[in-house]
Symmetry: C2
Subunit: 436 residues, 2 copies
C-alpha cells in the first residue's frame, strides 16, 4: 500500500521544474527501473538514440530527485510479462517512493500535456508491477496560465451570505427519473426547510425525460421567490455536463434564470472543455468526480487525489467531491480526510493564488459523522451533502435539515453530540434513526 | 481475470437501450450486489426513496439483463471496507459477468453523460472487490448525434493514395528535446526512405523549446517538396494536444501549411473538446491513448479497450493506438489483438455508420512482429509504427523502412519471412539485428 502521510506538501516551487512523486513496485534494480521511467517520460528511452546529444539530455531529461526504498514482496501486485532470466527464479518486488522532476520547457504550462507527461504511458511500463502517482508540485507558471477557481471557498460563501458553518446540502433523489415538476416539489420542501445547497445527481444531465432547461424553468422561480420572501439564498448546482456548446448554452440559461451554480462531472468533460467553461462562466462550478474509483480502488495502480484534484482546481472548479466518512463506497475514512485537506491546501505560495476549493462531503452522510468530520478538518469550509440523512429523517425534510444544522453547531462549539441532542429534538431523532 | 473471448460483438441494438457488460467480484449474494449497482446507476438506491414510484422505476431503472456466475476466490482482489457479519468469517468472493441495460431517455445521446452512467460512481461501490467494464452496445441515436471518424480507414488511405499494405510509420525520437530544425532533418531522411506516416511523440506538444507552429514551419515545406518531387504523400500527425482554442488554432495552422493530420492524446483533451475539434477539423485526427494503463493494468478494476475506444470513435478520431505484439510495455499480445479488432468492428449496423478507425501498432515493433500481426488480424488496415525498428536498423533509416515494407509484402503474400529475406537483404539485416 502506498504511504502518503509523510509526502511533502503540494506547495509551489520556484525553480521552474515540474515535480511528481510516485509509489512504485519493481523486480528490477530500483535505479534501473526508475531510469527507464524518467527516460520514457522525457527525452529518451533506455537506449540512447541518434540525435540524443549530451546537450539535449541536459536540457530535456527528467531527473530522479529522490528514491526512498520501502518494503518488498514476493509476488508482483499487478500481472507482468515474463521477466528476464538475470532476475533469477524468485525475484523480490521492491517498493519505493520516488520523486521525478521535468524541465518546464518540455511542455510549457499546459494541463493536457502535463497529464500526458506525469500520468501518461508510464503506467504501462513493463518494469513495474505497481505504480501510483502520489502528488504533484507545479511551478507558478501554471498559476499564471490557468484561471483557477473563480469563487472558491470565500466566493461561494459570499454568494450565499453564509459564514461560520458548512453549506448543508442534498442531492435530488431518485437520481434520475423524476420529472421537472417532481423535482421542484422536492426543491420547495428543501428550501422551506432551510437547506443551503441542492445538486442534481451526476446521472441527471440533459436526458429527454428531464431536460436541463425544463428543470431550470421549474426550479429557479421557486428558489428566487424563496430568496425574496426569506432572504435565504439557496445554491442549486444544475448538472450541465454535456458537449461543449450545450454546456455553454446551458450555463447561460441557468445564469439568465438567476441561478448561481452549475455542476460538471470533471472526468466526463475533460480539462480543455472545463477551462473553456470556466473562462466563460459567471457562476460557481461544482466539480463531481464520478469515475474516481478507476484511479483509487487499486492500491497498486492509479493516482492519489492529492495529485488528481490539482488539475481540476487549476482548470477552474470551485467545489470538488471527496466522499464522506463511513460512506457507502469502499473508500477508507483516512483517504476521505486526506482528499478534503488536499482541496484546501494552497497549490502555490503567495503572490500566486492558492486555488483552494470547497471540499464536498457526500455519500451516506447524516448528523452522525459531523463531529468526526469537523475534528479531522478543524474547519467548516465544506459542503456537507446528505440524502437519506435528510429525506430519511423520521421528522421529514425540515427536521432532517435542522438536525444537521444542530450537529454542526454542536461540533463547532465543542459540545458533545448527545449532550446537544438533549435540548435539540431533531438531532436526538437523527441519532436514534441513523446510529447503526 | 476477466474473460472476454465470448463477449458478444459490439453491434448496435435496435431497442433503444444502452447496454454494458461488466466483470464483477463480490462477497455478497450476486443478485443483491448487482441490484445495488443497477440501482445506484439509475433511479434509486437499495432503499426505496419517497418519490420513487412504480411508474418511475419502470421508466428509469437499469435492468440486469444477464448474470453469468464465474469462479470464486477466497480473498478479495481489491481492498474492501469491513464486511457485515452475516457474510460469515470466511466469505467466498464470487465472480460473474453481467449485462446491465439503461433506458435511452435517462441520459439521451450524450457521451459525457454516458461516461458518468456506465463508468461513474460504480467502481467505488463497497459491494465489489473487483469491477471492470468489458463492453458497450449503444443504440443508433448515438450514431445520429455524433460525428464519428471523418476519414477512418478508407479516408486515411485515400489521403495517401495507399492500398494493399499498412501505413509504415514512425515516431520522432528523442520524444522531447529536439529543436524544430533537428526534427526536420529526421523528417527529411524518413521521407526519402519512403515512410508513409510520421508522428510527434505524445510528450512533444507545444512546449517553449519546440512550439507546434515552429515545427509545422520546419516540417511542412520539406514534406510538400517531397510530395511534388516524388508523388509520395507522407502523413505527419502533429501533436496539437492543448487547451481548446490553442488546439483549434493549431489545427488551422497545420491545415494552412498543407498538413493532413493532427494528433491528440484523447484522455488529456476529453470528450467534449475532441468532439468540438472533430466538427471543426478538415484533417485526419490521430488518437493517442497515453494513460490507458490506468484502466488496463489491474485485472480487477478498470475497463476493456472494447468499451473505451467506442467513446473516442464516436467523438471523431480516425486512428487509435493499440500497442503492439511483444511490446515494451506490460500488455499481453492477446489484449493488443483484441484492441485492434475492436477498432475495426462496426459499432452500429447499417444504415448507420460503423465508425471503424485505423488501429495504430506501436512500441518495440520491428519486421519481426509483422507476420504474427497480419496472421492475427487478417488485414492490412493499420498503421505500423516502429522507432528502433527503423532508426536502429544496421543499414540506417532507408533500409529500416524498406525492411518493413518487405516484411509486410511477405506476410500478405503468405511467404515465410526467412524465405523472403533470402532475396531481400534489408529484411535479412532486420532479422539479424532484432531477433532476440
Amino acid at each position: 500500500m502506498p504511504k502518503n502521510s509523510d509526502a511533502p506538501p503540494s506547495l509551489a516551487i520556484q525553480d521552474g521544474r515540474i515535480r511528481a512523486t510516485y509509489w512504485i513496485e519493481t523486480p528490477f534494480p530500483l535505479e534501473d527501473a526508475v531510469a527507464v521511467l524518467a527516460g520514457e517520460q522525457s527525452c529518451g528511452t533506455f537506449t540512447r538514440l541518434p540525435g540524443e546529444t549530451d546537450a539535449l539530455r541536459a536540457a530535456a531529461s527528467a531527473v530522479v530527485e529522490r528514491l526512498t526504498p520501502l518494503d518488498s514482496v514476493a509476488q508482483p501486485s499487478l500481472p507482468m510479462r515474463s521477466l528476464p532470466s538475470r532476475l533469477g527464479p524468485h525475484p523480490r518486488y521492491q517498493r519505493a517512493e520516488i520523486e521525478i522532476s521535468w524541465p518546464f520547457d518540455n511542455l510549457g504550462a499546459s494541463l493536457p500535456n502535463l497529464m500526458a507527461t506525469v500520468a501518461g504511458n508510464l503506467f504501462e511500463l513493463r518494469e513495474f508491477s505497481g505504480l501510483r502517482l502520489l502528488d504533484l508540485r507545479l511551478p507558478p507558471s501554471f498559476a499564471q496560465a490557468y484561471p483557477g477557481p473563480q469563487f472558491g471557498i470565500s466566493g461561494t460563501r459570499a454568494l450565499l451570505g453564509l459564514q461560520g458553518r458548512p453549506l448543508i446540502g442534498t442531492i435530488i433523489k431518485p437520481s434520475v427519473g423524476l420529472s421537472p415538476a417532481a423535482t421542484v416539489s422536492l426543491v420547495r420542501q428543501l428550501a422551506d426547510a432551510g437547506i443551503d445547497f441542492i445538486k442534481d445527481d451526476e446521472l441527471q444531465g440533459n436526458g429527454p425525460h428531464n431536460r436541463l432547461r425544463d428543470r431550470v424553468d421549474a426550479v429557479m422561480p421557486v428558489l428566487k421567490k424563496h430568496a425574496q420572501r426569506t432572504g435565504h439564498q439557496v445554491m442549486y448546482a444544475f448538472n450541465i455536463t454535456d458537449e461543449l456548446d450545450t454546456m455553454l448554452h446551458n450555463h447561460d440559461y441557468v445564469r439568465a434564470a438567476g441561478g448561481n451554480c452549475v455542476m460538471v462531472t470533471v472526468a466526463s468533460v475533460g480539462l480543455p472543455a472545463l477551462v473553456h467553461l470556466r473562462k466563460h462562466s459567471q457562476l460557481a462550478i461544482h466539480g463531481h468526480r464520478a469515475g474516481w474509483g478507476l484511479y483509487s480502488r487499486s492500491p497498486h495502480i492509479g493516482m492519489e487525489y492529492a495529485a488528481y484534484q490539482q488539475f481540476w482546481r487549476l482548470a477552474g472548479v470551485d467545489h470538488l467531491h471527496v466522499n464522506g466518512l463511513r460512506n457507502k463506497f469502499s473508500e477508507p475514512d483516512a483517504s476521505v480526510i486526506r482528499s478534503a485537506q488536499a482541496c484546501t491546501r494552497p497549490m502555490f505560495a503567495p503572490p500566486y493564488p492558492g486555488c483552494e476549493v470547497m471540499p464536498v462531503f457526500s455519500s451516506g452522510q447524516t448528523a452522525e459523522q459531523v463531529a468526526d468530520t469537523y475534528q479531522a478538518l478543524g474547519s467548516t469550509d465544506l459542503i456537507y451533502c446528505c440524502g437519506g440523512g435528510i429525506m430519511g429523517h423520521p421528522g421529514g425534510v425540515p427536521q432532517g435539515v435542522l438536525s444537521l444544522q444542530e450537529a454542526w453547531e454542536a461540533a463547532v462549539r465543542g459540545v458533545d453530540l448527545e449532550v446537544h441532542a438533549q435540548t435539540h429534538p431533531a438531532l436526538a431523532q437523527a441519532i436514534a434513526a441513523f446510529r447503526s
